[in-house]
């Protein structure tokens, strides 16, 4: 069986995607790499279609921008796997599939007779990817998790936010995205193993572990130096007695800049900023005398960092964000805007690389700007976004009649029985 996209990195492979909002990104990554990904939704459509924001604020299952973002490039069909007919149809699809991705609570598929062992018996080469908050088993495997409770238990939240208030989550739900992206990693590792052995396997992803791998050196600080790093608002704690300011207020917004921070590039960046401040009539000799080149990652002493915060802060506060950003590019200062969505859409590098992709939605007579590929390959044609997100049951006929050979009579029966 060949995929719908001809000569792409993963053209020959078919992915059945049973995930809801918790796992959609996994299949999207594989689709962008060229696999034929079929999103299998319950009749009436995925629960992800109820998640906003919505196209022109119209709350409608075909207009969820959450759905669009993470179902784009997939095909779609409906199937109720809680019915006997539904399970039989899924098993037939599994025979010709290479991957099946799911994000149900642990044990759910097993109770339906669709656990890994059952699927393996049908297709020993199948790779089953399960994306759950804590993994398939263990003491918390059956814990309920939403984004905020998952982020709490993964350690990122404790380190994020102002020190005088409660920890905060990242302002867009991240917990399941980490797990779903890791699902694609695990799927491709299992696929590499299959290329050698011919045999599939079960990929059991823990979102908690995925987020817990996103804490830089904070876990090792506890393990090696018994130091619990804390959240410091605009600052970041680098070690016991050192911190570094990351967020800065400027005249009309916010910028990011990390003084010091290790590496030749960082020292050059600070030197360049200090030279700029001197030109602008705001020199500081004490900071110029610091041996930035000798500082390791985050070893600036507290007094140096406090002075930096004060002096550099005053310089930034005197200038607009656009001025600081454009001068920093020229001067190779590692300063970035705290970008808004508008900034992202006008970012010169994204523009030059042709990042954003126009996709036509003919039903809405609209062309929609989507975020583009996460990777470019040589020549650029073997990965990419090919199709708008599927409508509910859009490819039912292609798959049930075209591939499985059901008659239109049978299809009618299945629809009436709410199987599809």
């Amino acid at each position: 069986m060949t995929g719908v996209h001809a000569d792409r990195l993963l053209s020959p492979y078919r992915v059945l995607d049973l995930t809801d909002e918790r796992g959609l990104l996994c299949g999207k990554i594989l689709a962008d790499l060229g696999a034929d990904v079929i999103q299998i939704e319950p009749p009436g459509g995925s629960s992800a279609r109820a998640i906003g924001p919505f196209y022109k604020d119209d709350v409608h299952p075909e207009k969820s921008l959450f759905w669009w973002a993470y179902a784009v490039n997939k095909r779609g069909m409906t199937l109720n796997i809680e019915t006997d007919d539904g399970r039989q149809l899924l098993k037939r699809l599994v025979q010709g599939a290479h991957f099946l991705i799911e994000s149900f609570p642990p044990g759910y598929l097993h109770r339906l007779g669709l656990g890994y062992e059952a699927l393996e018996a049908i297709n020993p080469a199948l790779i089953l990817v399960s994306i759950t908050p804590f993994g398939q088993d263990g003491p918390y495997a059956h814990y309920k998790a939403t984004d905020v409770t998952g982020m709490a238990m993964s350690g990122l939240m404790y380190l994020t936010g102002d020190p005088d208030r409660a920890p905060v989550r990242v302002g867009f739900p991240q917990f399941y995205l980490h797990g779903a992206a890791a699902g694609a990693t695990g799927a491709m590792l299992a696929h590499s193993a299959r290329a050698i052995s011919g045999q599939g396997q079960h990929v059991d992803v823990s979102c908690q572990q995925a987020v817990a791998r996103s804490l830089a050196h904070a876990p090792q600080f506890w393990q090696l130096e018994n130091l619990i790093l804390k959240r410091l608002g605009s600052f970041r704690q680098n070690a016991g007695e050192t911190k570094v300011r990351v967020n800065w207020r400027c005249k009309d917004g916010y910028v990011n800049f990390m003084p010091g921070g290790g590496g030749a590039g960082s020292a050059r960046s600070v030197r360049s900023l200090l030279a700029w401040m001197r030109e602008a009539g705001m020199p500081n000799e004490a900071l110029e005398a610091v041996q930035w080149e000798d500082l390791g990652y985050g070893t600036g002493r507290a007094e140096v960092m406090d002075l930096t915060a004060e002096v550099v802060g005053a310089f930034f506060a005197a200038h607009t964000r656009d001025y600081l950003v454009s001068e920093s590019v020229k001067r190779r200062v590692m300063l970035f805007p705290v970008a808004t969505e508008a900034d992202i859409f006008t970012h010169p590098q994204l523009e030059a690389r042709g990042y954003f992709k126009e996709i036509s939605h003919p039903e809405l007579q609209a062309s929609v700007t989507y975020p583009g590929m996460f990777i470019k390959d040589e020549g650029g044609s073997r990965v990419g976004i090919q199709r708008r997100p599927p409508l509910i049951g859009e490819h039912n006929a292609d798959i049930y009649q075209g591939e499985l050979g059901l008659t239109s009579e049978e299809l009618k029966t299945l629809k009436q029985g709410k199987v599809i």
């Binding site: 918390y140 939403t146 993964s154 980490h178 572990q209 990351v246 590496g263 070893t299 989507y370």
Partner: protein
């Protein structure tokens, strides 16, 4: 030893700092032979980054470096030496399937080791290049690192409290988003080569990849012109939805009720100790709870602060309420689930001592992978790599040492 997913795959790895080395760590954990090329004269940032074994700094003592470079072999080359180029081309033509790097675009080319040159040495080579902003374009050489890049990707602007300025998601946040996409792409290219015999050059922009972690917001802006705002821990579809204080210093619990059933379950737990407020009409529906959310949060906080965080989490989960204590880093090591999954693997390092390295966040049932060797000391495997893996003669190896090509 069971077979691993990437047995037989040879990777020459020039990656440094976090995103690149975390990418190649997945490969090394799952059976690939990864040779990490470094400079001893100019050690990379992470080798000079705390924490250190026993709190004592040293080029071989960083736990930060140790985490991301477990299972790799270390080779120290002076890339400015003319013979280094020759040696790399030889390794690429005779040994490597893949070259990985995340320097500022142009660095490898500057050494005469850009993709075009490497491809001449090995026509089937897969090269993976990652950078802050991607290759080509006016800002390709703009320096930067992940801690700042989360701001460029729009994640900082939306994080924090509505009445205050933005805060960065902790650390080099986007550095840890990228590797999942990177490994999937690298292995897709490997599969393509297996089928067609053709290699490729992959070019990943950390910014472009990270934008996928908030893409609905981009669509909302593109279509509806909406700029998102900071909301603290609130969610439009749930109440209560927040982080509340518990007994002790800086101890917290996250609680989220999306459905009425979850709210009623929460009320059952509150009832014996918290007073009658949950029964009040103003909290009866999601809409009314949202309307009175400030007061709801105040009452919740007043109730939770009498509880020990872990006990409350267990109690609420037992009752069917989504709840999670806010783990600090010590809690992570004590978390029963992470322990059950073996999230931290312990490795014995000659200088660091016993240190924790994070395993893959997934369990593969047939090819589980393994972390069984500590990160390399500077130049630790020069002889092994060049003699055993690449097959240089004793004489060739000695002359590289004598000429100071090896640092």
């Amino acid at each position: 030893m069971p077979p691993q997913a990437l047995d037989g795959l040879n990777v020459l790895d020039f990656c440094w700092v976090a995103a690149g080395p975390m990418t190649t760590k997945y490969l090394a954990e799952h059976g690939a032979t990864v040779v990490r090329v470094e400079s001893a004269k100019r050690p990379e940032s992470l080798r000079r980054a705390a924490p250190y074994g026993g709190g004592v700094s040293g080029i071989n003592r960083s736990g930060y470096f140790g985490n991301y470079n477990a299972n790799k072999y270390g080779l120290t080359l002076d890339m400015r030496h003319p013979k280094a180029k020759e040696l790399v081309l030889r390794i690429v033509s005779t040994w490597a399937d893949m070259v990985t790097e995340n320097f500022t675009p142009g660095t490898m080319e500057g050494w005469g080791l850009g993709y075009d040159e490497l491809k001449k040495a090995n026509p089937k080579l897969i090269m993976f290049s990652a950078s802050m902003l991607g290759r080509g374009g006016p800002l390709e050489k703009q320096p930067g690192f992940g801690a700042v890049l989360s701001s460029l990707a729009g994640l900082t602007n939306i994080t924090g409290w509505p009445d205050r300025g933005p805060v960065n998601p902790y650390g080099a946040y986007t550095d840890f988003i990228v590797p999942r996409f990177a490994v999937a792409s690298i292995l897709a290219a490997l599969d393509y080569r297996r089928r067609t015999g053709e290699g490729t050059h992959l070019d990943m922009s950390q910014l472009e990849t990270s934008l996928h972690f908030s893409s609905p917001l981009l669509l909302d802006y593109a279509i509806n012109g909406v700029e998102p705002t900071r909301k603290g821990n609130r969610d439009p579809g749930a109440a209560p939805h927040g982080v509340y204080p518990c007994q002790g210093e800086d101890r917290w619990i996250a609680i989220a009720c999306f459905s009425d059933a979850e709210w009623h379950a929460l009320c059952q737990v509150i009832a014996p100790t918290g007073g009658g407020w949950p029964d009040e009409d103003r909290f009866s529906s999601l809409r009314s709870r949202k309307a009175a959310e400030d007061e709801l949060d105040r009452l919740m906080a007043n109730w939770t602060k009498g509880w020990e965080a872990k006990t409350l989490m267990e109690t609420l989960q037992q009752a069917g309420v989504p709840a999670g204590m806010v783990h600090d880093t010590r809690d992570l090591f004590e978390d029963a689930q992470l322990q059950y999954r073996g999230h931290y693997q312990y490795l014995d390092h000659a200088e660091i001592g016993r240190y924790a390295s994070e395993k893959s966040e997934f369990n593969l049932s047939r090819t589980p992978g393994k972390l069984d060797r500590p990160a390399p000391m500077m130049g630790e495997h020069n002889e092994y790599v060049l003699r055993e893996l690449v097959g240089l003669t004793e004489q060739e190896y000695q002359s590289l040492k004598d000429d100071a090509v090896l640092e």
